[in-house]
């Protein structure tokens, strides 16, 4: 492919890879980010609890504990600069009758060590007033006012878009097959789309970080995926919750969380089940039952009648149960950003800062660019506008007048912008991540065929080539009459 030699290649376009790309884009460097899927943020980043944790739960002796609080503090400014949806709604760890309430004090102490601000133990009365639908059995809770919620894929995409605005290159559907070295130094990568040269390779490959590490002979990283299953509710539901609400944690999991999302859906989950297969994103009857029962302990009135989707995500946990952010000691120029499990989203920008420090230690010169573009323009979000604001938009451009997704009020113009944006959407799910078209209660039943048609028109491809998500996820297999006279017909 390209003969261009990059300073740095980032392998993986999840939130960690995007954060590293974004931080690097502020320096005079040639940076390339490679993603094997047709869109960024389509692995672990798209399927998690979407929480920016306060940081009281992570072990202060681990990287997780050190980086979480830093990321939590940073995101508040970044959200403003890059127009990332973020709401500091605070979290509660709720102890109910029969729980060991001393764990709340332990968490408070751990939080203080991690320098989490504003932590407070609140009582029954406080809970009744501030979270009225919470179980009557709630005795006390640890309140962390600095915790918040975000839209994880938009967080990643926003950083990537700003990185692109500042000169970073991104190649999608480009899978790294090998890391090329010469005389103990990284010289590039081999991909399904040819070789790319680079002096440094950053391994932010998420679930596949151990596979990429092995390409340079590093065996110590071992990703042991842990599955989390979830239910998501319609915006119209029986009641709202005001905080991110956790039960008392166990040693390996924070338990079944009940939270609202940025768009005011309700999200419950996740389970935490170790699995072997990195592609196993299936939900299970047992898992979903665990989720519902767990959520019901906190909110006994919760039913399943307003759920609109179930999903599962995989945590890319390393066997050490900590982030592994370090330079390889056997090859110069190879840096692992691996084992990024919870609180990876919360820590993303702090992880990137640490990665840059390591790059400097490894001899990379970071020279600040002049004229860095600091801000990302806020995308038009029709669904959160008032009718007056919508009227103004339509006056400016009539393409806003045609609504494609009825459930989430997404206009034709927003979909065009998503397709022709800095990192253009090529798939139905990529359009969904950028606009919310298809994320509502009818789950694309209405807008699906319309989005497919727009993608086909704008990308100049046949409707049978339009993908839902991954490379082989075509939605339409044939055109009418194509099967007649085929073997299928004869055998049927």
């Amino acid at each position: 492919m390209s003969n261009k030699k990059y300073d740095i290649i980032i392998v993986g376009g999840g939130v960690s890879g995007c954060a590293v790309a974004w931080k690097l884009s502020r320096y005079n460097l040639n940076v390339l980010l490679l993603e094997k899927e047709p869109d960024l943020a389509s692995g672990t980043t798209k399927a998690n609890t979407a929480i920016i944790h306060a940081g009281y739960n992570a072990d202060p002796n681990k990287l997780k504990g050190r980086l979480n609080v830093k990321g939590n503090v940073e995101i508040k400014q970044i959200a403003k600069d890059l127009s990332i949806p973020f709401k500091e709604i605070g979290s509660l760890v709720v102890g109910v009758k029969g729980d060991d309430l001393s764990i709340l004090d332990e968490l408070l102490e751990k939080g203080k060590k991690n320098k989490v601000e504003g932590l407070k133990i609140v009582d029954k009365e406080w809970l009744r007033e501030n979270e009225p639908h919470l179980t009557k059995d709630a005795e006390a809770a640890l309140w962390a006012p600095t915790a918040g919620i975000t839209t994880p894929w938009e967080f990643a995409l926003a950083m990537a878009e700003n990185a692109v605005a500042n000169g970073v290159e991104i190649e999608l559907e480009t899978e790294v097959l090998d890391v090329l070295t010469e005389d103990g130094n990284v010289v590039g990568v081999k991909t399904n789309r040819g070789n790319f040269g680079a002096n440094y390779v950053i391994n932010a490959a998420g679930l596949y970080a151990d596979d990429v590490a092995r390409m340079v002979g590093i065996e110590k990283i071992e990703i042991r995926p842990r599955k989390g299953e979830y239910y998501i509710y319609d915006k119209a539901k029986d009641f709202d919750v005001n905080h991110v609400i956790f039960p008392i944690p166990t040693p390996i999991s924070k338990g079944i969380v009940v939270t609202r999302t940025i768009e005011n859906n309700l999200l419950i989950g996740p389970t935490s089940d170790p699995i072997d297969d990195k592609t196993d994103l299936s939900t299970t009857p047992e898992g979903l039952e665990k989720v519902y029962n767990g959520a019901k302990k906190l909110f006994p009135d919760l039913t399943l009648k307003d759920t609109i989707r179930v999903f599962a995500g995989l945590r890319a946990a390393d066997k050490t149960e900590d982030f592994v952010i370090e330079a390889a000691d056997n090859v110069h120029g190879f840096i692992n950003v691996a084992g990024i499990q919870s609180p990876g989203l919360s820590s993303a920008t702090a992880i990137a800062d640490m990665t840059l420090d390591i790059l400097e230690d490894e001899g990379l010169k970071l020279e600040e660019k002049k004229n860095v573009i600091e801000k990302r323009e806020e995308p038009v979000r029709f669904y959160e506008m008032s009718n007056e604001e919508r009227a103004k938009m339509v006056e400016k451009d009539k393409k806003y007048g045609k609504i494609i997704c009825r459930c989430e009020t997404v206009s034709y113009k927003e979909i065009l912008d998503a397709i022709h944006g800095p990192i253009g959407a090529r798939t139905v799910n990529a359009v969904k991540r950028r606009t919310r078209a298809g994320a509502g209660r009818c789950q694309g039943g209405f807008c699906g065929p319309r989005v497919l048609e727009i993608l086909s028109e704008e990308l100049g491809i046949d409707p049978t080539e339009v993908k839902q998500e991954e490379t082989n996820s075509q939605i339409i297999e044939y055109k009418i009459k194509e099967l007649l006279g085929s073997k299928v017909m004869d055998n049927a």
Binding site: T283, I308, Y400, G401, I480
Partner: protein
């Protein structure tokens, strides 16, 4: 912002909206406007290219597009104003309708009366939470119907259908006719959800297996659907371990229920009935909000479009009366209750004065299949009269008349209850 004033605004240009608008016009209220979100009128009918429509209303058999065209012609003959590609975003309780389209931009329409005719949507895979993955190739039967019949695109060639609603049955035949291998239609209940004639004409005539008491227990495939696992269920609808069967398929169609599309109604403070998912209405199909009417599948899901037309004409008549100031309420309101074996009755209330009418039709569905049954009407606990039915299925609507004379004779009563009882010994 374009501000308009209309006597009647009809939201939705499907069969309900079209018939209602025509009726409003024919009652002398000519300032009526239809708002339709699609690029053409007819609602879901243009994609229903099969026959079987109009047997009751027109006494002849039409396809969906033909049935729709009759009403579209009526609308055009009368020059009724239509706005296509127009999405209604909001309706206020004082009948201001807010909508958008590319030509006019943002619209605010002050309406004398509003007729809600937004139809329904399909239940999705997410809503029923089938275990397994979420690959491409899993879609609702109606979406597949749109791809096939409007866009000319065929989702796949090895098909399993979950649910035996009418659209599922119709699509089983439709995909078979395009050369696809329809491997099974699974229905979790011991009876089908759709019309008997569709079971015969769409499945039996094409040797497509119908598996009652079966459901899909797992979806396989990471990118595109590869297979589904089906299982038999017990009387509590729980899958029976050991009965799993894996069927290779690239397409899973869902026909697992329809949900009236009442998001706009709620914005207008319209109160909904938990059983129908639609508004609570009086016999004029007026909701609890004065001057806001509802008809068609937004009010309750119908089995035949012919009944939608009937209901829309009732709503059109009364909306016109309302606008003209001719709608009078009685002093008392009679509540219509769904009694034994009845899942709901439309209308839920009787409260309008009408000297000319001879009877008020009551529409209902049963909760469970029944053979040889009686539909009994009683007023405040006293039995009035009953009607015999050879059989009743939840998938098919029933209708009985309530005579105005009976109401006149009864004088002041609180409620009328409809029970459907299986006759003993038959």
């Amino acid at each position: 912002m374009l501000k308009l004033k209309k006597d009647v605004v009809v939201i939705g240009g499907g069969p309900a909206g079209l018939a209602a608008a025509v009726k409003v016009f024919d009652n002398g209220v000519e300032d009526v406007m239809i708002l339709e979100r699609d690029f053409e009128l007819g609602g879901i009918l243009p994609q229903c290219i099969h026959n079987g429509f109009g047997l009751h209303h027109f006494k002849e058999e039409l396809t969906g597009p033909e049935y729709a065209q009759r009403f579209i012609d009526d609308v055009e003959d009368r020059d009724i104003e239509v706005k296509l590609d127009t999405m209604v975003l909001d309706v206020s309780p004082d009948r201001k309708v807010y909508a958008m389209n590319r030509e006019d931009g943002f619209l605010e329409i002050e309406a004398g009366a509003v007729i809600l005719a937004m139809g329904c949507r399909e239940r999705t895979a997410g809503a029923i939470g089938i275990p397994g993955t979420r690959p491409a190739g899993v879609l609702t039967a109606g979406t597949a119907q749109r791809y096939t019949n409007i866009e000319g695109l065929l989702p796949g060639k090895e098909v399993v259908i979950l649910g035996s609603g009418d659209i599922g049955l119709i699509m089983a035949r439709r995909m078979r006719l395009e050369g696809a291998d329809v491997k099974a239609v699974c229905e979790i209940l011991p009876y089908t959800g759709g019309l008997t004639r569709n079971v015969v004409q769409c499945l039996q005539d094409y040797d497509i297996p119908l598996l009652l008491n079966h459901t899909v227990t797992r979806i396989e495939g990471n990118e595109r659907l590869e297979a589904v696992e089906i299982s038999e269920v017990d009387e509590n609808l729980k899958p029976i371990p050991g009965t799993e069967e894996r069927i290779e398929a690239d397409t899973l169609l869902l026909s697992v229920g329809l949900i009236p599309e009442n998001e706009l109604s709620k914005k207008a403070d319209v109160v909904l009935d938990d059983r129908t998912g639609g508004a609570i209405v009086n016999e004029g199909r007026e909701t609890n909000v004065e001057g806001i009417f509802a008809c068609g599948n937004v009010l309750h899901v119908h089995d035949l479009v012919d009944w939608v037309t009937q209901e829309a004409e009732i709503a059109g008549d009364w909306a016109a009366k309302y606008v003209k100031g001719d709608m009078r309420r009685s002093d008392s309101k009679i509540k219509i209750n769904a009694g034994k074996n009845v899942s709901y009755v439309i209308p839920q209330n009787i409260e309008l004065e009408d000297k000319d009418r001879k009877r008020i039709p009551l529409y209902m569905r049963v909760t469970t299949p029944l053979t040889a049954c009686e539909i009994k009407l009683s007023a405040d606990g006293e039995e009035l009269y009953s009607f015999n039915e050879p059989f009743a299925k939840p998938g098919e609507m029933l209708s009985v008349p309530l005579a105005q004379k009976t109401l006149n004779d009864l004088g002041k009563i609180e409620e009328i209850t409809v029970d459907i009882i299986e006759k003993e010994g038959e």
